[in-house]
Structure formats: structure tokens, C-alpha cells
Amino acid sequence: MKNKILIALVFFYFFQFAIAYCLDYLFLKSKIYKSAVIFSSTDLLKEKDIIIMGGSNGLVSYETSLLENNIKKKVYNLSEDDTNIQIHLLQLKLLLKKEITPETIILNIGSLGSNLSRNVLRYLPILGKNHDFDMLFQKHQTFNYYMYRIFPILKWGMYNNDLLYPLAFNIIKSNRYKHRFNEDGEYTYPNLKSSILSDDYEFIELNNENETLNEFKILCLENNINLIIVNTPYYKKKIKWNNSDNKVKNYSTLYANKPEYFYDNLHLNKIGKKEYTKQFIYENFSLNK
């Protein structure tokens, strides 16, 4: 009896490894999240001249087709909502590992937090397969790191809302399901009739001497990537940089008096996105000046 239980336990232990491995494999073949896009669309990304990175601001602020038509370059938006500089740096390392070196990276910064943002879970399928991610995850979530390494199936159960079911949708929709982004990697907030804007003014301080940001800059420099650091427009929020080297394009107050351009205080809507993209092209690329 004891032997049977032992055999069953060993079987289930290896079985969960096999299931998790298959799920990881299917995930990295999909385009559900940007984390999967880096692995499944390597060739597509290699063709791009400009890659936009950032959190939700980066995701909703650029009209890719407008950029491409005006500057005659190929652009992809790799921004992911609810991520910060830690994830952006990880993305850059993953790109470089895949030998994806775009001409320019537009890095949109909303916060420089030292904690891992919630959506790090979207990278869990590469746990154990990528040293940079393993180091990052182990540093911030040591217990979870070992738990998911020993029982990889747990990450799929724990985040079934964000990983397992989107993967199931993807299989149902013949590999076409993408979580809040289109073929160009962008997402658009609608123009709301009733405003959800707050009139409370807020200052956000960011420090240019941030360790992770510096690492990002160095990696770009080493790989001949032109880096443009940007703060996208906010409504009634102003970003102030400490120790600024004046290389940051701070547009946080660009539309301070244009509430009609915003979906909420942090994100542009469809109109704002178009106007901002035009302004961004005008200020940063000389073709239409």
C-alpha cells in the first residue's frame, strides 16, 4: 500500500512537470501577452526599426500607423499595462538575447519603482528558461520562485485567470487572442462622454540616478540603440525629474488644459493619442519639421 502511494506521488510529481512544460510551450508560441510576443514573433520584431516600451502610458499614447507613415520606419509597441522599469529592463534583456536590436527604443516612464509590478506573472512561463528573469523573480519573490520551480503547475493554478484561461481562449480562437493590444501592439482608450477626470493636482518625482534605468541606458549604449526617454501627457499631474540630464522628453504637462484628450488622469483617449503622436513626431523626428 505504502509503495503504491509512493509510486502515485512520484507519478503525479512528474506529471505536473509535464503538464506545466506543455502549457509553458503553448504560451510561448502564442501572442497573448507581450512576454509571449518576444518569443513567438522574434522575426517580426527583428524587422522593426523602432520599439516602444513602457507601461500603460506607452501602450495607449502612440498611433503606430501615423508614426510609420510619417517617419518611414517600422514600429512595434511592446508596452504592457501595469509594468514598471524592472519589467522594461527585463524586456530589453530578452530582446537582446534574441538578437533583436532596433535602431531606436522609445522608453515611456510613469514610475521607477524598485518593486516588481503585478504583471510580472505574464513572464512566469519563462521561469527556469531565462537566467535574467530567474534572477529578477528570485530576488523579489524568493518563496514563490522556489515553489514554482519545484511545482511548476502551481503557477498555472495560481494565475489561472491571467495565464490558463487566456491560453484556452487563444487555443479556441486559433492563436489570434491578444490581451488588450492589436497587431501593432497598441491599445486605444475610447473617448468617453462623461469624464472620469479628477481635478486634484499632483506632482510625481522621478530620479534620473535610478540604478535600473542606468542599466537600461548602458545596455542601449553598448548595443548602439538610440534611446528616447519619454513622459507621456497626464491630466493635472506633473512629473519632475531629479538629477535630470535634460535628455528626458517630459510631456507630462503638454495637455494640462485639454481634458477632452484624456480617458482618465493618466491615459490619453483616441483623440489625445492622435494629437500626441503628431506632436511627438514633430518634436523628435526631423522629416516633417
Binding site: G157, M158, Y159, N160, N161, D162, P166
Partner: protein
């Protein structure tokens, strides 16, 4: 909240009831015994009253004075509600009452008695145990037995399923609806209220199942706290099946004594006893007018079946026959379910006015209907689907159990049953939205 200093509070509460029991046993004079019983119950309750209700009374008194135009300075204390205080206080009271009614003898072993008061599986959310039921089990030598593992695992897996699949999934939608109820249509508000009725059942009965399962591992049987309440045929039946440990406690120690006190008033005396019992039930749940109103509503829903019939009300809790459940019974159960849902709106919202506003919004917004209101993101769609699937699984299984007069530990007996439930928890559980049990706050 928990703080190490609250250990002294637990110790004080334990000592009060222990000493009370000792003095009760040392006299045969009925008047003297009654005085001792009242004194020690007052002492036990005073701790609960101070920590749970002090600020509520002060704030209520101030707003009452203000409404008469008398200006007062708001002066409340920053009192933290210690975890489990309602439950261990009631354990102590049950001990004193059981000795007073000579159901048990005082316990000599203070360590075993302390274990009864602070027994960990039920310290934070019950069931409220009776001294006459739990204390004798602590006295006997218990050996670990492989046979108890099966029912214990059944209960624990079932409890985790209810909590992680239904309560935590439904909670995300319910929180959305109740926190912004002004922005939802009537349909969404009704749906949200019904979902909360399922959520609170899954949350609370889930905890009770886990507590009973954990306890079984130690060879200790806890009282059954939920017995398929949403299949109840009337409100009396409902209260015989919902939070049974509290309703039977209130029946024995509040309803019956008050009913006896007012026996000369005939039926009106019984109605007064019902009203006070539900009032106390509301107050026990929390220091807020919304809980009190919830209790009053239940009294209002409970009484008509006796006012308009010749049925005699001898006990607050009387179960009905389960084997003959037909279509008429289903209609009655639905009626009970909707009344419970209506009362729970006040239970869920912070104030009585919020409850009425919520109901007003239900009556106003019939013209706009959109599924996107509730299922507005992919995550919401997933969570909603999971909770509905979970509700279907639980209620189909529980109906089978209810019809056959069985409990879950009689149904889930094989290892593959546990594996199936574990697999379903893995697939349908909402681990990321996991919240603490609703009844922890009481």
C-alpha cells in the same frame, strides 16, 4: 486585528467564565446562583461591549444629541476589534449557562477549559461551540486514526472549493457592484445581490467545513453549522440550517428565557421574544445600525408564518422534512432565498441609508441593460463564469445530499474524489482575488 497584547484579553475572558463556573457550582441557593450567573455573564459581555460596541454607542449618542440641536464634541477611542472576541466570549457564556442549567459540571482542568475557549479552528469564525458538547471531547484520550482522515479531507476540500471557487470569484463582481451601485442598472444590482447571497454562504459555510475538517484530524467533532440553508422551506427552517451554532445558542439562551419571561402575554410574548432574539443576532454581527436593521428585517420575515396561522412557536429553530421536497417546496425555498437576499443588502452595505438607496436604484434603472456592466474585462468574464460554474456544482451536489439526508463527508470518500476536487480548485479557484473570510470581522 491581532496583537500579542490581546492574549491577556483572551486570558481574562477565559478566567472570568472559569471562575464563574466554579462559584456557580459551590452553591445550591437558586437566587444566589442566578446572581452569580448574571454577574459573570455581565463581566464577560462587558469586555465584548467595550471592544466591539463602545465607539458605536458613543457615535450613536452624539448623532442623537446633534439631531436635537445639542452640540457635542466627538470623542471616541481608537479601539481595535480583537480577532475572535465574539466567538470566545460566547464560548465562555455558554459554559456559565450550561453550569447554571446543570447541563455540565465545572471543569477542573483549566488547561482543557482554556483550550475549549480558544480552540484554534473555530476561534476566528466559529462555529460557536457549546461547553456541553466540546469539553467532554477534550477530556478523553484521542488517538490518531487513519479512518478519520477521509471525512476530514472531504470537509476540508469541500470548504476550500466553496471559498476559492465561489466566494473569492463572486467577491470580485460583488465588490464592484456594491461599491459603485449608483452606476449599475437594475438587472446588474439584482444579479449582484443574488451573487452576494451565494458568496456569503460559500465563504462562511466554507470556513465552517474547513474548521470541522481540521478538527476531525484531532479527533474532535464540531457542531454542524450549515445544513443546506438555501433549500429551507420557510424562515424558521432557514434559521435551523443557517449558522446553526449561533441560532441554536440564541434559541436556548435568549429566545426561550425571554419567551418564558413573557409567557403571560400569550402570543405577543412569543413575538417579543422573536424580535429581541433577532435584534441581538444583528447586534452580535457588528456594531452598526445596518446589522441591527438586518436583524429586525429577519424578525419581520420570520413572524408572519405564526401571526397568520395557528402554528405554535415553541422553538426558534425547527427543521422540516427533507425527503418530500416537491415543486411547491422549491417555490417556498425561492421565496426564502429572495427574502434573505433582500436582508443581506443591508448586511453588505455600510449604512441603512445605503441599503435603501441601493433598493431605490434597483427600482429606477430598468431601462438600461448591458452585460458589459458586470463582465467588462476578460478577467471579469472568467471570474463570473468560474463563480457560476462553482455555484452550479455546489448546489447540484448539495441538493442530492439534502434530498438523501446526507452530508458531504458521506459522499466524497474515495481518493479520486479528492483529486477531482483538487483539480477543480486548480482550474476554477480564484487565488489572486483571495480575500479573508467575511466572518473574520465579527
Amino acid at each position: 486585528m491581532w496583537d500579542w497584547r490581546f492574549t491577556f484579553l483572551l486570558l481574562t475572558s477565559t478566567l472570568i467564565s472559569y471562575i464563574g463556573g466554579y462559584y456557580l457550582n459551590n452553591t445550591n441557593n437558586d437566587n444566589y446562583r442566578k446572581a452569580i450567573m448574571r454577574l459573570f455573564i455581565f463581566l464577560s459581555l462587558s469586555i465584548l461591549l467595550y471592544f466591539k460596541y463602545f465607539n458605536f454607542f458613543i457615535e450613536s449618542a452624539i448623532s442623537l444629541l446633534n439631531s436635537f440641536g445639542l452640540e457635542t464634541n466627538q470623542h471616541t477611542l481608537e479601539i481595535i476589534l480583537p480577532v475572535g472576541i465574539s466567538f470566545y466570549t460566547f464560548h465562555g457564556i455558554s459554559y456559565i449557562m450550561d453550569i447554571y442549567y446543570r447541563r455540565i459540571n465545572p471543569h477542573n482542568d483549566i488547561v482543557a477549559y482554556s483550550l475549549f475557549v480558544a480552540y484554534f479552528p473555530l476561534l476566528v469564525a466559529g462555529p460557536i461551540e457549546r461547553a456541553s458538547h466540546l469539553l467532554p471531547q477534550l477530556d478523553i484520550k484521542r488517538n490518531f486514526n487513519l479512518e478519520v482522515i477521509k471525512p476530514a479531507l472531504s470537509l476540508m476540500f469541500w470548504g476550500f472549493f466553496k471559498k476559492l471557487v465561489i466566494a473569492d470569484s463572486a467577491g470580485m463582481i460583488v465588490d464592484d457592484v456594491f461599491s459603485n451601485y449608483q452606476n449599475f442598472s437594475s438587472y446588474s444590482l439584482i444579479f449582484g445581490s443574488i451573487l452576494f447571497t451565494f458568496q456569503i454562504y460559500a465563504d462562511f459555510s466554507g470556513y465552517s467545513d474547513i474548521a470541522r475538517g481540521v478538527s476531525k484530524l484531532f479527533g474532535i467533532e464540531l457542531l454542524l453549522n450549515f445544513n443546506f440553508p438555501y433549500f429551507a422551506k420557510n424562515m424558521q427552517d432557514f434559521w435551523s440550517r443557517w449558522h446553526i451554532s449561533l441560532s441554536s445558542f440564541l434559541n436556548d439562551y435568549v429566545f426561550i428565557p425571554i419567551a418564558l419571561k413573557f409567557r403571560d402575554f400569550g402570543k405577543r410574548g412569543i413575538y417579543i421574544a422573536v424580535f429581541f432574539t433577532f435584534l441581538i443576532s444583528g447586534i452580535w454581527h457588528g456594531a452598526g445600525w445596518a446589522f441591527i436593521f438586518w436583524g429586525i428585517l429577519h424578525a419581520i420575515f420570520y413572524l408572519p408564518q405564526f401571526i397568520f396561522s395557528n402554528k405554535k412557536l415553541k422553538s426558534l429553530v425547527v427543521k422540516t422534512n427533507t425527503s418530500t421536497y416537491g415543486f411547491n417546496d422549491f417555490v417556498n425555498s425561492t421565496e426564502v432565498f429572495l427574502l434573505v437576499t433582500l436582508a443581506l443588502i443591508f448586511f453588505r452595505l455600510p449604512g441603512i441609508s445605503d441599503g435603501f438607496n441601493f433598493i431605490l436604484e434597483i427600482t429606477k434603472n430598468w431601462d438600461r441593460f448591458s452585460l458589459n456592466e458586470i463582465a467588462r474585462t476578460t478577467t471579469h468574464i472568467i471570474v463570473l463564469t468560474k463563480s457560476i460554474l462553482g455555484i452550479l456544482i455546489v448546489f447540484i451536489l448539495e441538493f442530492i445530499l439534502f434530498k438523501n439526508n446526507l452530508q458531504i463527508e458521506n459522499l466524497l470518500t474515495k481518493i479520486w474524489h479528492y483529486l477531482c476536487i483538487a483539480f477543480l480548485i486548480f482550474l476554477l479557484g480564484s487565488f489572486e482575488n483571495a480575500t479573508q473570510f467575511i466572518y473574520f470581522q465579527f
